[in-house]
Symmetry: C2
Subunit: 491 residues, 2 copies
């Protein structure tokens, strides 16, 4: 056994324990009896503590010193890149600060939830200020003299900087905001009305999951309050939800989560339970969920097929033809909530959060100014005013739990999806003909072979560049959105 | 923080991780997609390895040396008794032997399953001989000069010896065998016939579970191939099964598992995630499942109520009245399989295994003689011959996975249930009147307050003696069985 073999064996056990912790999280949202919550908190804490002890285990440091990465093959070097990054990251943050942050963010989540329910930002502000202070301290420890926000991004999207994102998002914002304004001037599309049996929704949603390549022998679909995908390798489970008035929420939540889940399922099995056996970054992950959901799932061709499926499942539901159905699926309406936003407005929500959280971290924006800054920016970009904090600055849990640098990965995922869509449509020229028959297999196979199979083998931008054949840029996404919404709204 | 506090904090985390491992086991039998099995094996191994490292952690030895148990209160002393026993037990077995045993028994289970399917004991014999050799080696390490089988019993029923059991089981065997022979001579009871909707079975089984005091806010009922109870404290889940021809299997499996599960649920919450927060022994555990299932659930009074429930759920199913239904529920028929045996014959199955496995461990019986010894003994006790090994010596998984000393706890549980039933009926004189209305609350409350709440606070025999008011003996069980089956079969 070489030091590398020993390290990989140790890492494999750590990955396996990480999967167990993930499965507990799944159980908590789907199966756990509600009275078990206090005990579950202790179980999760014991798992986290065991995982943390492994992450900072001095044995890992010894192995890392003993290994010369240059002597390893490509896979070995990629494994070492992940292991070194994680070990160094964990060891840079003082234990006392990590404990304090865990404690404060745990309490902050409850305080945020109460403040949101009471629509009272002031009740949350002091707690948020404390979280930000601690996160800046953590960021300074991680950055070691470099940019604090860049150090935070490294946790979610290694290789991306605030300056990169600022340039990218800066070109997106005016285009999206103008497009949004033009759509607001156009003739509105009517929303879906009527009731849609929830059992029939679940039946069709499982069919959609399978159709998009989700392997049910290595996964399962359950209902939960929030849709999510959980696990890697041979056990990747998703959740979805139903609402009798809103079948699209069920179907597109499922397709979105199937994008995440098939990414995990399709990573080459050689990488199982190694650092390469997980999706490489939040941005690349989101590119898979978004291209499944939007560029494929909300395309004219695929919605044409889905229209027929919905008529079979629910009878006539008041939409006259495929063209009208396509518009209904892609309807752009006024709304305040990021998670409910359509494809056009979604990125405007994210860009707003990116600018505000970066300013908070730089000390250029104070918590006392945050609500006002949010509301001003929202009205400028969307054309209407926020009515209450729960529809504005208090809507997302992220900041309360210390997630800074996470929001931009949503839009980066959309940008990546735009790049991949352009390349995929060149590589699979008859794609729309297949999608019109409900057959997504050519698209999902292309994504599997060009993106998903690699897992953590390449760096995030490299994954996209290898698949798309060009460096990632926002141009394909913007062109796609302009064309799509100009067609639907006759702009 | 004293050494005791430190030790208890460490132990609490270990208990929490043990609960997590248990939950994985539950998931595996109920929810896990089948393709996840190879990954799950690695996840379980990582959990076991983490738990094992904690069990042999030298820090525990240091704490144990530093603590003077005499300075602690009753609860503290009981905790120390469990922790010392477990630490000493784990450290007595050489690591190489433990690893070898784990490896051999893991393979042996598969070899046993194949041999059983092929009805070929010879195909399993060499493997069983190896398991026995390793288990004897382990037993010698544990016994440190004492009796090997007694050392094995200590794992499942601390404080009980082979000699105790031999005396107890020796008085039971002739009584049970004669009673069995008399019933065989009597007019037979017809078995249940017809089809019973499985959805309606599950509905009634959940009602039964709640009726017997199972707290669904801290548990759940799912279907699985084998019924089991899993978890302690605030999260105790059970499984059951359905068979359209055999609703009793569903109902009495559920009631049995609810006996185990409510024991875990009703342990005083002060003991949560401590060594006292689990059922104290296999025998006491089985006393709870058996008294729920048999002395309460198969009583004349309770079956009278159940008859009405089944008529409501399934309509007329060809049993004419309560009296006939009582006989049907308690029908004694010829059969080879322990797990399918009625209340009368069940202990004969166990007594047979106890004598054989004790002789195997003592070296008084060789594996080559085992099949013959089994068949001879079976015919002597039951009055008919074993037709094939899968109905005889190959029917149980236990020996293949190294469980020696486990079988007798099943009958010890029945003996304890007999003692508890006698005391309970004195303490709750109007019990039958309640059971006839389907109300088990007085019985379950008595068991909760006199047995279950203590968890691991007292030694197993002490728990029973405190509740029953006298030292445990087989006499109440034998008297109960003689009366019951004499009434049903007009002996």
């Amino acid at each position: 056994m070489t030091a590398y073999d020993d390290l990989m064996e140790f890492t494999r056990d750590t990955q396996a324990l990480g999967q167990v912790a993930g499965r507990l999280g799944w159980d908590q949202e789907t199966m756990m009896p509600r009275g078990a919550a206090p005990q579950r908190a202790e179980e999760m804490a014991a798992m986290e503590s065991a995982l943390h002890a492994r992450r900072i285990d001095p044995k890992v440091g010894d192995w890392l010193s003993a290994i010369d990465d240059e002597t390893l093959d490509t896979v070995g070097q990629a494994n070492m890149r992940h292991i070194r990054r994680s070990f160094e990251r964990t060891n840079k943050v003082p234990a006392a600060l990590a404990t304090k942050l865990a404690k404060v963010t745990s309490a902050a989540q409850g305080i945020w939830a109460e403040a949101r329910a009471a629509d009272d930002f002031k009740a949350f502000a002091p707690t948020l200020a404390e979280v930000i202070m601690l996160k800046r301290e953590e960021g300074q420890a991680l950055a070691a003299g470099g940019d604090v926000y860049d150090a935070m991004l490294e946790d979610y999207e290694p290789g991306t900087t605030g300056a990169n994102l600022e340039a990218m998002f800066g070109s997106m914002r005016p285009v999206l905001s103008e497009l949004r304004a033009a759509v607001r001037e156009a003739a509105p599309v009517a929303p879906l009305t009527g009731d849609f049996d929830e059992g029939a929704q679940m039946k069709l949603t499982r069919q959609l999951a399978k159709g998009f390549g989700y392997d049910m022998t290595r996964g399962r679909v359950d209902k939960a309050v929030h849709p999510f995908s959980s696990g890697s390798g041979l056990d990747v489970r998703i959740t979805t939800r139903t609402n009798v008035k809103d079948p699209f929420n069920c179907f597109y939540s499922t397709i979105h989560e199937v994008g995440h889940a098939t990414y995990e399922q399709n990573i080459h099995l050689n990488h199982l339970l190694t650092p390469l056996g997980n999706g490489v970054s939040m941005g690349v992950h989101e590119s898979q969920s978004r291209i499944y959901e939007n560029q494929i799932g909300r395309s004219r061709a695929f919605t044409g097929w889905l229209f027929g499926q919905m008529k079979d499942a629910f009878g006539d539901f008041g939409v006259k033809d495929e063209e009208a159905f396509y518009a209904t699926v892609n309807r752009v309406g006024d709304g305040f909530i990021r998670t409910e936003a359509d494809e056009l407005q979604y990125n405007l929500h994210v860009l707003l959060r990116f600018d505000l959280e970066r300013a908070l971290m730089a000390g250029d924006l104070q918590v006392s100014e945050l609500e006002g800054a949010w509301n001003d920016r929202f009205e400028a970009d969307f054309g209407y005013a926020v009515d209450k904090p729960s529809n504005g600055v208090l809507q997302d849990v992220h900041w309360s739990v210390g997630l800074f640098g996470y929001f931009p990965t949503y839009s980066l995922g959309n940008v990546y999806a735009g790049c991949l869509n352009e390349a995929m449509r060149k590589a699979v020229p008859d794609l729309d003909a297949n999608l019109a028959k409900g057959d997504t297999s050519a698209a999902t196979a292309w994504l599997r072979d060009n993106v998903q199979t690699h897992g953590g083998l390449y760096e995030p931008r490299e994954v996209i560049e290898r698949a798309a054949g060009v460096a990632p840029s926002e141009a394909p996404l913007l062109a796609y959105l302009k064309k799509k919404f100009s067609d639907i709204y006759d702009l």
